[in-house]
Subunit: 329 residues, 2 copies
């Protein structure tokens, strides 16, 4: 079907091996004029190397698998965008795999990606039941990096200091005179959310502030579901495990005629792009997607290109983005 090395070699009047050398920049062994002839032939025939054949002999595929809970979650969409872009620049193409927090599906994708010979893996929100899969990857020497990691023992991850984040949120609210605060965490066993909770809770305890805790899904719907309870609890301020929850909370608060921030201060986590558009604009703890994707892709690419390269737990800074959804009490 397509043009092959053989066609090119015939056209240029040289051997297949020579053409291969030229294509792979092993030009030390090739004279300029022959190189030129080959390049001309490649151009003329519009030759494109066959990835499958290359992959078969090299066990490299110039591709990486991106495992992600849900691409319609803006936080993950932004991660995916940066990852795909950086990877493409380095010549890797990205497989998109949505797991919907389904551990079984996640496992299936992991297996399939390995069978497809991906050169590396970026795993967002690995479910704890699949943690042992990482050991397999190590054994098989498949580079991987975990993001948004919910299992804090994982060594190859790009993380943020969630505990600090919780403290920052707490200090912000406590410093504004709130005496009864709430936290909305998640139903799953996510270490990162738990750390946010701990940091928050520790500060409140030290300041003798009452804390009401709610659990729900880390989605807009999750926020809607617990909103009434949060409002009824009498808390004057609430720290949401992520921004999406805050979105749902806003909606119900508005329906009930609760004024934000006058009657209820809300602080989120992530700083998704919508945070700036919400009304009032959401005060939140930002984790920089740009830094996360840059670190993740840089380290992954390094690992894919150099089997010796290794790294451990990069921890990225976070910071408070103060907007309009919190006020004095």
């Amino acid at each position: 079907m397509g043009v092959t090395l053989k066609d090119v070699s015939k056209e240029a009047g040289v051997s297949i091996a020579t053409v291969s050398n030229i294509i792979n920049n092993k030009e030390k062994f090739v004279s300029p004029h022959i190189k030129e002839a080959v390049n001309k032939a490649i151009q003329k025939l519009n030759y494109k190397p066959n990835y499958a054949a290359r992959s078969l002999v090299s066990s490299k595929s110039q591709s990486v698998g991106l495992i992600i809970p849900d691409i319609t979650n803006p936080f993950f969409a932004e991660l995916a965008k940066g990852i795909e872009k950086n990877l493409a620049r380095a010549g890797y193409i990205t497989f998109l795999c949505n797991t919907y927090e389904n551990g079984q599906l996640e496992k299936k994708y992991l297996d399939e990606l390995v069978a497809r010979n991906v050169d590396g893996l970026i795993i967002c929100g690995l479910s704890s039941r699949n943690a042992e899969v990482l050991r397999n990857l190590e054994v098989q020497n498949i580079p991987y990096i975990v993001l948004d990691n919910r299992i804090k023992q994982i060594k190859k991850s790009i993380e943020i200091n969630d505990y600090d984040g919780g403290q920052i949120a707490a200090n912000h609210l406590v410093g504004r005179g709130h005496k009864h605060l709430a936290f909305i965490g998640c139903t799953g066993q996510f270490d990162n959310i738990k750390d946010r909770h701990r940091g928050y809770s520790d500060v409140l305890t030290n300041n003798d502030i009452k804390l009401s805790v709610f659990q729900t899904e880390l989605t807009t719907d999750g926020g809607r579901l617990v909103a009434a309870d949060v409002i009824d609890s009498g808390a004057t301020g609430v720290f949401c495990g992520n921004d999406l929850i805050a979105v749902g909370l806003y909606e119900i608060a508005r329906q009930k005629g609760i004024k934000i921030p006058e009657e209820l201060s809300i602080i989120g986590f992530d700083d998704i792009s919508f945070a700036e558009i919400m009304q009032p604009k959401l005060t939140t703890i930002r984790q920089s997607r740009r830094s996360i994707t840059l670190e993740a892709t840089t380290h992954l690419i390094a690992m894919m290109q150099d089997a010796q390269y290794t790294f451990e737990n990069v921890v990225l800074p976070i910071h408070l983005v103060e907007r309009e959804s919190t006020s004095w009490r």
Copy 2:
């Protein structure tokens, strides 16, 4: 490295060919007991077929390329989600390619995906300068489907009736007594946006309504950029080329103290999930992502599995979703 057919055949005491037959369900030629032995061996060795080798001989890769302007645009994220899910169910994996409306990058991806032997292609927002690429795909017998299509002559596309959409928006506003309306379209040569404009404009002309037209990018920033001009135009209602523009418009209107919908009625297009969260909730023309992705993947899969299968221009219904951002005048 991995377990190969050879290993399995040795373990089961049969030939490679037999194992291959069993794996590919050409079982008509194989006796039950030998089949069982082979399956046991596969299980025991945890054999996984090598995609590269398969792909090399079959020129099939069980993968499809998804070309998309920007995954952080919620409309495309929702399309990508449905597409990836449906494709995965049928055994295909999805390559994610963000083009950022960059025709050159789009072309590069298209070429690379073909080189990677994708079995099919779903192209969102093909730029007009790459339209001739489709002919190449036809010649090479690579199935493709175009979505959100900006070039209306394309035959293999899932579309909506944009002209109708424009009319619906216009009738909604005209029916509410508006005498001076605005339209925010885009700077690019997009047939679909132009059709929305035409439908809208035709109704206004028939009703002797004044129309002010603005051009910008189909993004939140685009909306922000023209917002002041729209407001200054004196129009009492505006139809935005997509919902994202409306988001930007909301923001500036709020800054300027313009009340929506009392002072300015706004109607969007797409019905992204955020439309329901905006304050006031956005009235908009919905195109069903579920239908689009279902049609797209169903036809694409059919084409990939049966070279004879063909189809032309599926046109999907749209409808007005009336919320809170438009009012009587």
